[in-house]
Amino acid sequence: AQSVTQLDSQVPVFEEAPVELRCNYSSSVSVYLFWYVQYPNQGLQLLLKYLSGSTLVKGINGFEAEFNKSQTSFHLRKPSVHISDTAEYFCAVLQGGSEKLVFGKGTKLTVNP
């Protein structure tokens, strides 16, 4: 069964520092990869997605992620974070031919002044 591992449950950083949130997945077959953000008491919003093509994907709010097939990773990065980026971030994988989106356990990003 497909699984997603987000290696860090919590990531505290200072404002304007760079950040990387790590995500690894288990499947070796074709996959589609997503990062979602959940602000406090809100639903999930899509940050970015990888379906095919360029392995470097740019999303909203200055975030980007790189698909690395050999390392089965899809790490999320931002060069300079803002306090407003404080939220829970979820990596998710959709296996080709499946309709079941499998989520990681989430990484809580806290940006401090």
Binding site: Y32, F34, Y36, Q38, Q42, G43, L44, Q45, L46, K49, L51, E88, F90, L94, G96, G97, S98, E99, K100, L101, V102, F103, K105, G106, K108
Partner: protein, 112 residues
């Protein structure tokens, strides 16, 4: 206009009661889902419907019954509520396989 809307946003009820959560999407999607987010923020799929037909039914107790009257609606009915059912329930929809899902704002269910 809200793309995926759920009602109610908050639901507090006693053990043993029966309750429903409604979901509607105005995106023209043909696939809808229910996800459960537990107290540790873990998200897990419960059900998926495609064109009103059930296609995914994870190991969810029979007390949970989804109903899809049409492509734009997927409601969740829960019988004999238990304390462990307390969670946030998210409805989502997608256009087809291998595309991103759009989520509603969630329904926070608290069973007392």
């Amino acid at each position: 206009d809200t793309a995926v809307s759920q009602t109610p946003k908050y639901l507090v009820t006693q053990m043993g009661n029966d309750k429903s959560i409604k979901c509607e999407q105005n995106l023209g999607h043909d696939t809808m889902y229910w996800y459960k987010q537990d107290s540790k923020k873990f998200l897990k799929i419960m059900f998926s419907y495609n064109n009103k037909e059930l296609i995914i039914n994870e190991t969810v107790p029979n007390r949970f019954s989804p109903k899809s009257p049409d492509k734009a609606h997927l409601n969740l009915h829960i019988n004999s509520l238990e304390l462990g059912d307390s969670a946030v329930y998210f409805c989502a929809s997608s256009y087809r396989q291998n595309t991103e899902a759009f989520f509603g704002q969630g329904t926070r269910l608290t069973v007392v």
